[in-house]
């Protein structure tokens, strides 16, 4: 398992994921919630462990993203789109902290 070479995936609007295609990721354009869900599903089924998803696309299909939250084999990582970050990814980090500890302790430390 450890020596198998795996690839990365990218899901989101065409413009943003072209950049990921350039560095060798499997890029799947998706512009609607259904497309996002099926793109995630397909990449995950192909055994791709890291899927980058633009924040806009992640916002469109929150259930599809949440489905992979507890799967060890697939990490769905939101990244900023071409318009820059809208705080979705940072919010997810904070949500994790709140879920685990019960309060947002990061904001006071940074």
């Amino acid at each position: 398992m450890a020596d198998k070479l795996l690839r990365m995936g990218a899901v989101g609007e065409e413009d943003a994921i072209l950049a990921f295609k350039a560095i060798g990721a499997v890029a799947v354009p998706a512009n609607t919630a259904d497309e996002v869900a099926s793109a995630l599903h397909r990449l995950s089924r192909d055994g791709i462990p890291i899927i980058f998803i633009t924040e806009a696309a992640a916002r469109m299909a929150p259930e599809a993203v949440a489905r992979y939250d507890q799967a060890m084999e697939t990490a769905v990582i939101p990244i900023p789109g071409i318009r820059g970050s809208d705080g979705y990814g940072a919010q997810r980090v904070r949500d994790n902290v709140i879920k685990a500890i019960g309060a947002d302790i990061l904001q006071y430390n940074n």
Partner: protein, 212 residues
């Protein structure tokens, strides 16, 4: 707190006592596990937050360059230039065990690291594109690291939540219930004993009365 529905017998009492001891031990262990998980989680969450900030900064710049490049070039030409990536970003996935939470460890393939290879000729593309791809390649190890930390942090958060629920269930439901039940059984047994004693005394008195 409600008493469990059991027969007030000595055997049940022993069983209850044993279950209480197990529950107490489990509670202590789970509490330790929770504390250690939280300690590690805080470290990882901090790393996660700072990594995310770095990645968002790096990517924001790269993607802006990309958007610029695509504005300068014809859309078809850009797509064509990137149609065949010059290299495949390959990575390997291992596993790490954090207090029996299995988390992934990603590492880049050696070949994928190093300088960016442009998948196109320089004649038909704009200079912004080269810069954007260069930045992207530099951000790649960071991206992989972010993926690893973020996944770890979300898996740990889930495990902490589960452990906390178990600890609370043991502390506030199971253990009080067992204690209550044990008290109930002891009291019932004592009462029976007292009842038997008074009955015996009464019978003795009756026999003594009849004898006279």
């Amino acid at each position: 707190m409600s008493v469990l529905r059991v027969n007030p017998t000595r055997m049940e009492l022993t069983t209850m006592k044993r279950r209480l001891a197990t529950a107490r031990r489990g509670h202590k262990l789970l509490k330790d596990k929770r504390d250690e998980l939280v300690r590690r989680f805080i470290l990882i969450a901090r790393e996660n937050a700072s990594l995310r900030e770095q990645v968002e900064q790096a990517l924001g710049g790269a993607l802006r360059d990309f958007a610029l490049a695509s504005a300068v070039m014809e859309p078809g030409a850009l797509y064509q230039a990137l149609l065949y990536p010059a290299r495949q970003a390959a990575l390997t996935m291992g596993r790490r065990n954090i207090l029996s939470v299995r988390v992934p460890v990603f590492s880049m393939d050696e070949e994928s690291l190093g300088k960016a290879v442009l998948p196109y000729g320089l004649a038909e593309t704009s200079a912004q594109l080269d810069g954007a791809i260069e930045t992207m390649s530099q951000a790649l190890p960071l991206l992989i690291k972010l993926a690893e930390t973020e996944k770890t942090s979300s898996l740990l958060a889930d495990e902490i939540q589960k452990t906390r629920r178990r600890v609370n269930a043991l502390e506030y439901v199971m253990i009080p219930q067992f204690e209550e039940t044990i008290r109930y059984i002891t009291m019932k047994l004592d009462e029976n004993e007292r009842g038997a004693l008074t009955r015996l005394m009464k019978v003795k008195d009756m026999i003594a009365e009849r004898a006279t």
